[in-house]
């Protein structure tokens, strides 16, 4: 293979090489520096005269004397089952002290698009144990559901909790977590790994780490590495893979960096015009294929710049993914964990994964009712601030109260609190019981008859046991509060201030 010494220009992460033999588009490139260091790059633009190479490790220290070798092949990841339990860097090389990975096969990391005709329909309910997700924004196997967070919000905690607790009820298949970190801090990474190790989850995990001080361009390949590994485990080893990608905002920043180094015409806020397509080639790799046993579920995390959901990164992501879990700074300051704001959150595939077959017959209606009542209750807070609570009608007072207990009892739960879907729905009914039966317009008379108990909120957990004995008992063991009134007194006052 020929080596060239014809670098004419170096700019940002890009190296321009002239007078080469024909070089393939998106080929992998090895650059050798004067001191013998080897760097890796990829061809972004190729013509008879000029080849543009983006260097993953950055161009610091490269001069015109560096030699360039084109490998004639696209970027590949060596995969094998030995990857389980390993910690790799952003390029897929071992970071832990373990041995090198002997690949069973090498796979192209770009990944091809799944033929829409070959896709299977997602249908299995994943129980995350988090009420706001399970009941209100149900996660379904094969879905891509991002967490829209803001800086300083506990999105990592939530991702860990989901990774720890997620299960499909009644199924005993192999479950793998692929964790790809892009530009997160060393501290955050350690936190993740520590948690994985403590819970033993590391055994069934593969970690790809590109930290904040690793080259930014490398971030562009990290998620693709992770998804290639995920596809291998899902479609060749019949496993169910949960892919956590954090933080997509850093990924997009890198994309912008490359775009501007190439002097491309920028789109909104300087991000390249093809960012939608680029993000789609990552997110759309979630799914199920007909006739294959495994699946890929994606949980990307992104921090919204300035908490702005209309920022291009969040915006484009929302248009590709099947819903979003939105974290709220307001709830966080109210000390509610997880601070999931259900109103802007959404799971598009929810209806495929709930109902009699998967969860419970009343699930959809309970969730709709909670949404509607909580939204109304929250609106009323604005009014209360002006006229005071006494001026409200009785119904409005009930709604206001519902919104408060909904946040404090339903949204709030412990980091180790793993609620079953039965517990979650029972809890929702208990809270809805604080309202009048006629207030519940989203629920059919049949279900109201079956599940509604007026003022259930005030009843003790003992009474609940008569109906849902087992689940309530379990709930008590784990410390889920089913009685609702008491802890609220303080909060009501707080709200009225």
């Amino acid at each position: 293979m020929k080596e060239y010494k014809t670098i004419t220009r170096i700019e940002g992460p890009l190296v321009f090489v002239e007078n080469t033999e024909p070089v393939g588009y998106s080929e992998i490139v090895k650059l050798r520096l004067g001191d013998g260091e080897i760097r890796t790059g990829q061809v972004l633009d190729t013509s008879e005269k000029l080849v543009v190479v983006q260097v993953f490790e950055g161009t610091r220290g490269i001069d015109k004397n560096a030699t360039v070798k084109f490998l004639g092949d696209s970027m590949k990841l060596g995969v094998s089952e030995d990857m389980l339990g390993r910690i790799l860097n952003g390029k897929g090389e071992p970071l832990d002290k373990g041995p090198g990975i002997i690949p069973e096969k090498k796979l192209d990391i770009t990944g091809a698009a799944i033929n829409p005709y070959a896709r299977g329909s997602p249908a299995d309910f994943i129980q995350t144990g988090v009420s706001t997700i399970d009941a209100m924004n149900t996660l379904v196997r094969g879905q891509k559901l991002p967490i829209f967070s803001g800086s300083g919000l506990p999105h990592n905690e939530i991702a860990l909790q989901i990774a720890r607790q997620s299960k499909v009820i009644g199924m005993k298949e192999k479950f793998v977590v692929v964790f790809a970190a892009m530009g997160i801090t060393n501290e955050e990474a350690q936190h993740f790994i520590k948690d994985f190790e403590e819970t033993g989850a590391i055994e069934r995990s593969i970690v790809f780490l590109n930290l904040a001080d690793n080259p930014a361009v490398e971030r562009l390949i990290t998620p693709r590495m992770a998804l290639t590994a995920a596809e291998y485990f899902a479609y060749e080893k019949d496993m169910h893979v949960l892919v956590i990608l954090t933080d997509m905002t850093n990924y997009c920043e890198s994309l912008r960096e490359i775009g501007s180094a190439r002097e491309e015409i920028p789109g909104r806020r300087g991000y390249p015009g093809y960012m939608y397509t680029d993000l789609a080639t990552i997110y759309e790799r979630a799914g199920i294929i007909k006739g294959k046993k495994g699946s890929i579920t994606q949980l990307p995390i992104l921090t919204m710049v300035g908490d702005d959901i209309t920022h291009p990164i969040a915006d484009l992501t929302g248009y590709i993914t099947e819903g979003q879990i939105v974290l709220s700074r307001e709830l966080h300051t109210k000390n509610v964990y997880p601070p999931i704001d259900v109103l802007p959150s959404l799971s598009r595939l929810m209806n495929l994964g709930i109902g009699k077959k998967n969860t419970r017959e009343d699930h959809k209606q309970v969730s709709d009712q909670c949404y509607a009542s909580y939204a109304e209750g929250r609106d009323l807070r604005g009014l209360v601030a002006i006229v005071g609570e006494d001026a409200l009608s009785e119904k409005d007072k009930r709604l206001l109260h519902f919104a408060a207990i909904f946040e404090q009892e339903f949204v709030r739960q412990g980091k180790r609190d793993d609620r079953s879907i039965q517990q979650t729905l029972d809890l929702a009914w208990a809270l809805l019981g604080s309202m009048n039966k006629e207030d519940l317009t989203r629920i059919s008379p049949e279900f109201k008859e079956k599940y509604f108990k007026a003022n259930a909120a005030k009843t003790s957990s003992g009474q609940k046991e008569e109906h849902h004995g087992q689940s309530a008992q379990k709930a008590d063991e784990r410390g889920t509060k089913v009685s609702v009134r008491k802890p609220l007194q303080g909060l009501d006052e707080e709200d009225n201030k």
């Binding site: 024909p22 393939g24 588009y25 972004l44 633009d45 190729t46 013509s47 008879e48 092949d73 091809a112 698009a113 033929n115 829409p116 005709y117 070959a118 896709r119 299977g120 329909s121 997602p122 479609y235 491309e264 015409i265 920028p266 789109g267 909104r268 390249p272 015009g273 093809y274 397509t277 080639t281 997110y283 759309e284 799914g287 294929i289 209309t310 920022h311 915006d315 248009y319 590709i320 099947e322 979003q324 109103l343 802007p344 598009r348 595939l349 209806n351 495929l352 959809k364 709709d368 949404y371 939204a375 109304e376 604005g382 009014l383 006229v387 001026a391 009608s393 006629e438 989203r442 008379p445």
Partner: protein
């Protein structure tokens, strides 16, 4: 034709030297013969957008022009197919290259082996020209595919025969020697001609109360659904393609989610068309170019779709075309344009964006086809995904200039799970006046009057709510409290509709009319009672009105309606007396 060489590759756009091609000619690129289209010619360099992934292409590889522009195959076998953006059947791609889309595979749009039973309608000696019906094929149970003389061909029939043919075999010959087959090719970027364009005068009945009632669209009309993500564009589009009363549906998934297309694919075959009782899939053509499939094919997908729609229109059918989403199409244009290093217009979109949008929507319409008396129409319903839900962006604005019906989706409503989340204050339909007479004639003479009454109430509610925000609803005059209550009933029991409920997903015009009736009746009776001195609290707590919502969920709603009417009259008589 002379082969040329690749000169440069940058993403989906390549430059080639030494080919002799016209603009928009199809070319094959590289060893794997990837399909592409010439989009710029500059001195000796031709710029080509490639419909497939260009990884590992090298400068110096062959480029082979075909001399033809991007065309689709039009003939029997289109219905119930699922294509990618350049009319390659996805099931065949799956057979040829497995679960993932790889490249360099050609697949014709129609099945060339299948034999169809052809019944000649024309006879020897007939003078035929463009669009003339040669004969018919029953493509799907109950759906007659009319075999047309391709546009641009005319002459006297020399021979024609009925029988079983593949689409490659001639079914007729003309005296000038031209042999006619059951299919022909048509370049996608050129609108198919028709004898005359007419004004749209009949409504496309969608079974969605808020649309049929407040913001109707005409057959042959153009409508847009803009909305931020999560507002329910796709669900609305899917509901329309399931229940609207068009004969043929073309659904374009342009740069959208793979799982959504799967949903359509798994759901449609199990749903039955309320009109024919046959699976909905039978009348549907799906085009799926998901967001991660090549961007150039995405750009082509809307043209592929509308050409197929026009073809069925030419047979005298009412076709509804759903494009989800035109923003992704616009973005594909932007992406290609930026690779061409064209001078960008607003937000990086090419300066010709609004021209392209207008050209596309202009292909909708109600027409007299060439060869048949029966009118045909193409209704275009385009979803728009404005970044950040901001309607002032170029795609929404360019669309607004050409469309007549505007269904503005509202994230706030969606968050409240008010679906379809069509905002009743910002949406509009310019067909409302033209379609009014038809609805008054065919549904009920006071249809328009009732709808207008509802609209007035909803507008009034908006104003009142501002006051309520400040002082609470109890402080309002009693009459206005009734307005608020009636508006609430309209919102919850008329405007909201559950697309996932087996009964509520489709609502007949009669049912919509009667639901309006009983809600407005409550309003009238309340005012009446109020004037007779009844207590407002008791009027507002009348029980039967809260049960109007139950009408939505029962198919045989008449008995319940009568029961409620009686109940309401009784309750009012009690309220008014005391």
């Amino acid at each position: 034709m002379d082969k040329g060489k690749i000169y440069r590759i940058a993403g989906p756009v390549i430059e080639a030297k030494g080919i002799d091609a016209k603009m928009y000619d199809v070319v094959f690129v590289g060893k794997e013969r990837l399909m592409g289209e010439v989009i710029r010619i500059q001195e000796e360099l031709s710029t080509i957008q490639v419909y497939e992934d260009t990884s590992n292409l090298k400068p110096g590889e062959d480029v082979e022009p075909t001399g033809a522009s991007l065309s689709v195959e039009l003939g029997p076998g289109l219905l119930s197919s699922i294509y990618d953006g350049i009319q390659r059947p996805l099931p065949i791609l799956k057979d040829k290259m497995g679960d993932f889309i790889k490249r360099g595979v050609q697949a014709p749009g129609l099945n060339h082996e299948k034999r169809w039973q052809f019944f000649a309608a024309a006879k020897k000696g007939d003078a035929v020209s463009s669009g003339f019906i040669l004969g018919t094929v029953e493509e799907m149970p109950g759906i007659i595919h009319k075999v047309l003389v391709p546009p641009g061909i005319s002459g006297k029939i020399n021979s024609i025969k009925s029988g079983s043919f593949t689409i490659d075999e001639p079914v007729a010959t003309l005296e000038n020697g031209t042999s006619l087959r059951m299919f022909h090719l048509w370049p996608v970027r050129i609108p198919r001609p028709s004898a005359k364009k007419l004004l749209p005068e009949t409504p496309l009945i969608t079974g969605q109360r808020v649309i049929d009632g407040l913001f109707p669209v005409a057959k042959g009309g153009v409508a847009a659904i803009p909305g931020p993500f999560g507002a329910g564009k796709t669900v609305t589009q899917q509901a329309l393609s399931k229940w609207c009363d068009a004969d043929i549906i073309v659904y374009i998934g342009c740069g959208e989610r793979g799982n959504e297309m799967t949903e359509v694919l798994t759901e449609f075959p199990h749903l039955t068309d309320p009109k024919s009782g046959k699976p909905l899939m039978n009348r549907t053509v799906l085009i799926a170019n998901t967001s991660n499939m090549p961007v150039a094919a995405r750009e082509a997908s809307v043209y592929t779709g509308i050409t197929i729609a026009e073809y069925f229109r030419d047979m005298g059918y009412d076709v509804a075309l759903m494009a989800d989403s035109t923003s992704r199409w616009a973005e594909a244009m932007r992406e290609i344009s930026s690779r061409l290093e064209e001078m960008p217009g607003e937000e990086g979109y090419p300066a010709y964006l609004s021209t392209r949008l207008a050209e596309f929507y202009e292909r909708a319409g109600r027409v007299i086809p060439f060869g048949t008396e029966k009118l045909g129409s193409v209704t275009v319903i385009g979803a728009v995904s404005p970044p950040g839900g901001d309607f002032s962006e170029p795609v929404t604005q360019g669309t607004l200039r050409v469309i007549k019906t505007f269904w503005a989706l509202d994230a706030k409503l969606a968050q409240r799970r008010h679906f379809p989340s069509i905002n009743w204050l910002t949406s509009y339909s310019l067909y409302f006046e033209t379609l009014g007479p038809w609805l008054d004639k065919h549904v009920a003479p006071d249809w328009t009057a009732r709808v207008k009454e509802m609209k007035t109430l909803l507008q009034e509610e908006e104003k009142l709510l501002e006051i309520v925000q400040l002082v609470g609803s109890d402080a309002l005059p009693e009459k206005q409290q009734i307005t608020l209550e009636v508006s609430r009933l309209i919102r919850e029991f008329f405007l909201q509709q559950n697309a996932y409920h087996e009964v509520d997903t489709f609502c007949t015009l009669e049912k919509a009319y009667k639901t309006m009736g009983i809600i407005l009746e409550y309003g009238r009776a309340s005012i009446d009672a109020l004037e007779k001195g009844a207590d407002i609290g008791r009027i507002l707590s009348i029980k039967s009105k809260d049960r109007i919502g139950e009408l939505k969920f029962v198919a045989q709603y008449e008995p319940l309606l009568h029961e409620l009417e009686k109940e309401m009259a009784k309750e009012f008589s009690v309220v008014s007396v005391n």
